[in-house]
Structure formats: structure tokens, C-alpha cells
Symmetry: C2
Subunit: 317 residues, 2 copies
């Protein structure tokens, strides 16, 4: 780090200074701190600190011909911020470590703008970063938040209702289209390229009786299993109740679609789904309930039992 | 993140689970948290949160034939922790994002042990992480600390004394030897492979009158300039006073040697250097003082004025 750098933006001498200056010019007031070896910030008194790190790598988490640089910046940071939503934490800020190939030098401004978009979407700040020359584009994002009573995966009790935010299937359908040489519909592409970290929704849900949460990154079916296992309960879920992204018709495929970044929550009380939809413009839908301790996750489509929806995977594996 | 994972260790389904299990087995009690989407921790009431991120990439920050995997893990995390030392912050924990090539799969245990060594050296914890398949080995480390009154680069006033911890020149001499096809001496190699994050030293110095600090990553001469500029003062430094790593004879080269991770501090009072050396086993040496506001950094060797020592650079640039 040098005194040219924003808080925590560490970098040796060399032409990379120009890269930092370019990003700082884009970020403006969003980059805050004292320009020192590390950034210094306050955690609200009585709150816990909530932290997580997430990487998005070209060729593994996205492909260049699918997304523009601004979308890549936005999506990478949003995916990391989604972990704060899963904990019902208020964002305190992010740190971004960027690996930038020389050949993609011209994409820096758009990447910086996309990072700024993600930060603006949840009204947070950039507390530091790092740039390294690389053979491929990559963003590693650390997210910091605070919460008085974080939601966890282990807070689900038998009898609790299971709700999901939003509509499912878009990202899976988009990746499916691209990998088959087709173009996804605009709605499906948008759900892949511009997911939303459900921070405001999560804070509202935690205030209205939610006791457990997880964000959907591996696919709803897989993440329901994670939730059940962490809480040592079973779950009975009717996938036919799942709201679908326009153009998606298969509820089973939608339950296998990953990187949705919607929330699954458990609640001991009935939620006012109409008020939620009015407030946030997306549905909140009860899809099932938790069953006895150490039960399994039972997937249904109406009255029909179905096998666990599988199939979503990182495209590059 | 899944429920198999430790706090914040996020990973999709697949064989990478085995990688996580292997690291967790190595880390044991050092990996702490609730195994959720993010780790949850306390910041001491009244303290500021101090955060920074740093990346170490194969071929750029180290070479495989110079260091073993355990040293790579240790050195990468220690370099990041050094930013907490520069702020006189107590470590709260680290998050590690690892990029691991398939061909280096067998190095994982040693990398994990090296990360554990670095964490043990400053008595902190692993709060989360991420693993991604990659073409080259890389570690991005986020460090979290807390401090009631962090030291900064801007706390230097005219008349303050400038001290340095430790002995200089080892890492530069080691890199110089390797890049010339020679072997460094054991002491020089050790200083490159096993730097120390001067956390305990920094806390003691802050308690005994230090008001400004920076860690030496770009070379002492460059980092003195950073300190002077951030504080808007000048500095007069006599490089002949600099203690040298055994085998290093050139004070000018030692002042250009980077990645020392020793501390430069400014103090309004005279330090008890004998007590410091007794306590920490390394020298604390006064090498100059701060001069008038907006002065330049003047380098001397005894009474002889010398040009700014330059030459250290990442070997790969």
C-alpha cells in the first residue's frame, strides 16, 4: 500500500498506480478510509461482526462472451454480498482483490463501475483492495457486515414455515441456453447477469419472525438440504409452489438452478407475504415446512413425491 | 458455503469438499465460527475495526523453486498480517481465498500448515475462506484486527524520532542471489521465506510513545517517503545506522530491499531500545528524525548525502 492508494488498496510501485487512480476516479466517495496500510471503521456497539470471502474467476464462474465487464464486476460483488443477506447483516463495506490480465486492461473502467453498482445497490462502501497482474480475470471479494442477532442455517425448528424470496430458474435457464449455443431470454439473462443481494429483504424478514436463512447458490434443492442438516430437522417442500422466472416452465429444473441469490428462510410465524411483495416488488412464497429432528428433505410437486432435483453445476467443471 | 464447510469457507459441490476437509483437519481449533454463510465475531467494545487484503501469486510474489509450499502459505499470510502491525492492531482473524492448480493438489497439506504457522505466530484464527481451481497458485488473504487508537502513516510531526525494528537487506539479497543463479545464505533465505509480522512489537511501541508507523514492503527508502508524504513532513535518515542481516554489507542496498515486513515508526519520545531488544530479541534502532512540514526525505550515509536507494522491485516485473 502506498499513500496514493485508497484505504487498504495495496500495490507496489509501477504502472499499476494508474490502474488504482482509474478505479478511484470511478469510485469517488464510495472508497473511504484513511489511505493507510489498512482501513479503519466502526462496528455499531453491541453488534457482532459478520465476514465472508468469495471468488469469481473467468472461465469458472462466468464467461466473457456471456457478460460485459460491468456485469462481471457487479455480479461478483453481489454474489459475495448475498452471504451478508443470508445472515441478516447490515453491510459495513467490501474489499476487492482484482486479478487483471494485461489484455483486459481496457475493461478496468467498466469493472470498477460494476463494483460501484453493486456497492450502491446495498448502500455500502469500498474499504480496500489489491490489484495483481494475471493470466485471467478474477475478483475476490471480502464482505463485512454487522448484526445484533444474525440469522443462521441452524435456527430452523420442526413446524417452522419455509419461505423463499423471488422467482426461480432464470440463471439455470440462461446457462443452459448459452451452453447449448442458444441465447437466453432477456429475463433469464438478467437474472444471471444482475442478481440482487437481498439485504433489505433479509433485514425485514429477520424483524418479522425469521429465525433461519440461507442464500441459494447451489440450487434451492441443495440449499434446502444444507439448511435441514445444519438445523438437524427435516423439510417437506412442494416445488410446484415455486414462482418461476418468465420463460421457465419446469419447477424441478428451477429447484436445481444455482446462483439465484434468493433467500430461503424459516419462520416460526406466518409472514405477511402481501406486505413483503408491496414493499420489495418480489414475491415471498411459503413452499413447505420443517419436520421432525433429523428427518430428510422431502421434495413434492403437488401431491407427487419427486427425487431431489439435481443437475446445476458450475458450467466449467 | 455449505454446512460441511468451516466458517465462511464457501465452495460448490464437487471434489473440492475433500480439499476443505483436508485443510480443516490441519487447522483444527484454529478454524472457528458457526459454519454458516459468513463467520460471526466480536469486536472489543470501543475498538475500531482494522481491515486489509493482500494477494500473493506464484511467479509474481514468489517462485516455486525458491520456496516450499509450507513457506508459501506462511509467507503470504504473514505479509497480509504485517498491515495490522503497521496499524498497531490486535488480530481478530483472517480469511484465505486459495487458487489451487490441479497439478499442485499434493501441496495442499503443506500450504494449510504454513497458513496455520502464520496464524499461530500471532495467536489468531481462520474465520473463512474459499478454494477455486486455477492455472497457478495464489493466496488472497484478508486480515481483520481491532485497535483503540490505530497508528497511521500520517502521525509523524517535525522533531519526532524515526526508529526501525530488526535488520535489513536479507530479502533483497536472497532475491538477488536467486535471480543471479546463486544460492542465498541461510540467514538471507530465512528473511525472505519466513518474515515476521511485528504485531507484538507494534503494540509495545504504540504503548511507549509511537505516533506513526508503516511496514516495509516497498523498501525502507520508498516507505520512508510514503510516511513523510502522508504526514506532510520531511525526514532526515542516516542509512549507515541501519542494522544489516548477516552477510549483507551494503547499507544502500539494504534500504532498497523490499518485503522486509519490519516496522518504521515515528515517536515523540526517546524509546528504550535496550528494553525492546531484551523483550523481542531484535534491535530497535533510531535512524533519523522528521523535519519541517513538506520537506523532502534526505538520505545520508554518515555525513555523506546519498541519492534515494532504489532498485528493489518484484522480480517478475
Amino acid at each position: 500500500m502506498t499513500d496514493h492508494a485508497p484505504p487498504g488498496l495495496s500495490l507496489g510501485p509501477g504502472p499499476e498506480f494508474d490502474l488504482i487512480r482509474e478505479m478511484l476516479a470511478r469510485w469517488g466517495h464510495r472508497a473511504v478510509g484513511v489511505g493507510d496500510d489498512a482501513a479503519v471503521l466502526d462496528v455499531p456497539r453491541g453488534d457482532k461482526l459478520v465476514v465472508s470471502v468469495d471468488a469469481a474467476i473467468d472461465g469458472r464462474h462466468f464467461k466473457r462472451d456471456w457478460l460485459g465487464a460491468r456485469e462481471i464486476g457487479y455480479r461478483s460483488v453481489t454474489a459475495a454480498l448475498s452471504d451478508l443477506a443470508a445472515m441478516a447483516a447490515h453491510p459495513l463495506g467490501i474489499l476487492v482483490a482484482l486479478e487483471l490480465p494485461e489484455a483486459r486492461r481496457a475493461a478496468l473502467a467498466d469493472l470498477a463501475d460494476g463494483i460501484a453498482d453493486a456497492v450502491d445497490a446495498v448502500a455500502t462502501r469500498i474499504l480496500g483492495g489489491n490489484i495483481t497482474a494475471s493470466d485471467r480475470l478474477g475478483l475476490t471479494t471480502t464482505v463485512l457486515g454487522s448484526a445484533f442477532a444474525p440469522l443462521t442455517r441452524s435456527g430452523l425448528e420442526p413446524g417452522h414455515s419455509i419461505y423463499v424470496t423471488g422467482r426461480f430458474g432464470g440463471p439455470g435457464a440462461a446457462v443452459g441456453a448459452w451452453t447449448s449455443g442458444r441465447m437466453p431470454t432477456p429475463e433469464q439473462r438478467e437474472r444471471f447477469a444482475r442478481p440482487v443481494a437481498r439485504i433489505r429483504e433479509s433485514l425485514w424478514l429477520a424483524d418479522h419472525g425469521a429465525t433461519a436463512a440461507i442464500d441459494v447458490s447451489d440450487g434451492l434443492a441443495a440449499d434446502l438440504e444444507h439448511l435441514a442438516r445444519a438445523s438437524a430437522v427435516g423439510i417437506d417442500a412442494d416445488l410446484s409452489l415455486l414462482p418461476l422466472t418468465p420463460g421457465v416452465i419446469d419447477h424441478i429444473a428451477a429447484a436445481a438452478s444455482g446462483e439465484e441469490y434468493e433467500l430461503v428462510i424459516g419462520s416460526r410465524v406466518s409472514m405477511d407475504t402481501r406486505e413483503f411483495e408491496r414493499r420489495f416488488g418480489i414475491p415471498l412464497t411459503e413452499i413447505g415446512h420443517a419436520t421432525s429432528r433429523d428427518g430428510a428433505v422431502q421434495f413434492r410437486r403437488g401431491h407427487e413425491r419427486v427425487a431431489k432435483p439435481e443437475g446445476y453445476d458450475h458450467f466449467s467443471r
